[in-house]
Symmetry: C2
Subunit: 278 residues, 2 copies
DNA sequence: GTAATAGTGTCTTTCAGACAGTATAGG
DNA sequence: CCTATACTGTCTGAAAGACACTATTAC
């Protein structure tokens, strides 16, 4: 090793960069696609848009679009696309949890060219109906049928998930959606993100219905109640009580807000699943 | 809805695709980078290469390279880069666990242009010293100092992780490496992937040392032993025993091979961590 | 009143961790 | 012999799940 502490060839690297031609590289495009989930009337919904132009014109697809080169990072691009396609302003977006899901880059997944899509997963509280963006013919919250037979023990891999009209989703979006549902189900186990589907104040029963809808199974009300309150930082009491009891009677439930925990410790593990996946 | 069941405008979509110009799109390039981890003499090592050309010429970096447009998917590209940079043939690659870690796409993370990197995480058994690829000046397994103060309670976020000469890593590779170590630590909890660091036959003590090195803490030998054997599908006995006991005596340990479980149920949770991250 | 719900008490089982104890090998 | 190690036994405490019970409200 010489005494050279500077990065080697700093001078020539400047010259090299000035002469660098980005268009000399093979064209691979980058998009972001967002799997935005929400609960409406206790049913899980996903945000879909109907494609206005080719390819897959008229088919339903996940909202998404090309990353603006040199202008924005991936997280930013996902937030922008979500805002554009939902008509949700940036203020409401702060109440939405958005995380990267994974990237999909099979060469033929898009007929135009080789396109790598970075998929994002969003958990949103109940939002108004979306406004279709400029490149979409329509946008809607589409119910994910809870009676889906593929939502069985742990595997949520519907390769034939369909849009509102029953048509299959465009591109490989059915596979992305399946991965997103898998991720969502396990996120509820070890993070408090179920609260992201609810308003700022909620009852334990409302929280339980989030778990029941996403996991697709009934939970024991009493044990769930005690368990949630025993996990430090999951929820904290507001002191208030709901103004109205359930539709079929019962005492008014106490109200809680999300706590400051980022991880649940101990976790809320899903029931059985019969020895997991072997 | 009309009676039209075909995708709308199938004819014109063909024409549209024929006229599509991929180079009309803004240039964002896609690379894959691999964080390959292995254990050598019971110490955690990462595979690094020294960059032969600009940018960051002479600096150490994660092995990686551009995705070959239209030719390969992301997983393929990662496997190819790993093989190229290690000199490991495809046969030996089958014993390596490779999974997607996440994508990094800040506009300025590469001085040349906007480049999105899809990062992969690899768990490898002890492999021979790597051969530097064509675009690398050198390649080496670099020890990750277990005495790293940033490897404290659960957070493994060393933004200043350095290469062999103590220089910082190129690009944002230190951040990617930190995320990879986080992922690796939690993967050991709920998957049997610790066995991917070992040969086809191993003792419980060797398995324990994998956990101890990656988690950075000593585990109770007796409890670990019973726990591993009690998780269905984690390991299965070969019937044999080690030919030699430990360097300081003791009975010869029994040998095991990896079982068929994909997930550990119940999981091997890491000790305490003091109420997790709040 | 009837029925459904909120919330609590208790029991059993499972599992993690602490600790002790025995057998086996290397030096 | 001494010591470190492989492996097993046992106890305690934490936590999950099953069940039961009370109190409260809508209808």
């Amino acid at each position: 090793m010489s005494s050279q502490d500077q990065p080697p060839q700093a001078q020539s690297e400047q010259a090299w960069l000035a002469a660098y031609d980005p268009r000399a590289f093979p064209p691979v495009a980058v998009t972001v696609d967002v799997v935005a989930l929400t609960l409406r009337q206790d049913r899980l919904h996903v945000l879909l848009v109907q494609r206005a132009g080719p390819p897959f014109q008229g088919r339903w697809a996940l909202p998404g679009g090309f990353v603006r080169a040199g202008e924005e990072g991936l997280d930013q691009a996902a937030a922008r696309e979500l805002a554009e396609e939902t008509g949700v302003d940036t203020a409401a977006l702060r109440r939405v949890h958005l995380e990267q899901l994974g990237s999909y880059g099979a060469p033929a997944r898009d007929p135009r060219m080789h396109i790598v899509s970075v998929a994002y997963l969003a958990f949103a509280p109940d939002l108004p109906d979306p406004q279709a963006g400029t490149d979409a013919a329509a946008a809607a919250w589409v119910p994910l049928d809870g009676t889906d037979p593929t939502a069985g023990p742990h595997r949520g891999g519907p390769s034939g998930r369909t849009g509102p009209a029953g048509h299959p989703l465009a591109f490989d979006h059915a596979a992305i959606l399946a991965d997103a549902l898998d991720r969502a189900r396990s996120k509820l186990e070890y993070t408090p993100l179920a609260t992201a589907f609810l308003g700022s104040e909620f009852t334990i029963s409302e929280l339980r219905s989030v778990y029941e809808e996403i996991w697709g199974e009934k939970l024991h009300a009493g044990n769930f109640h005690r368990k949630v309150l025993s996990v430090p930082g999951f929820v904290e009491s507001t002191g208030g009580t709901a103004t109205r009891a359930g539709s079929r009677g019962g005492p008014r439930a106490r109200l809680y807000r999300a706590g400051d925990a980022r991880l649940l410790h101990p976790a809320l593990l899903r029931p059985d699943r019969e020895e997991a996946v072997r």
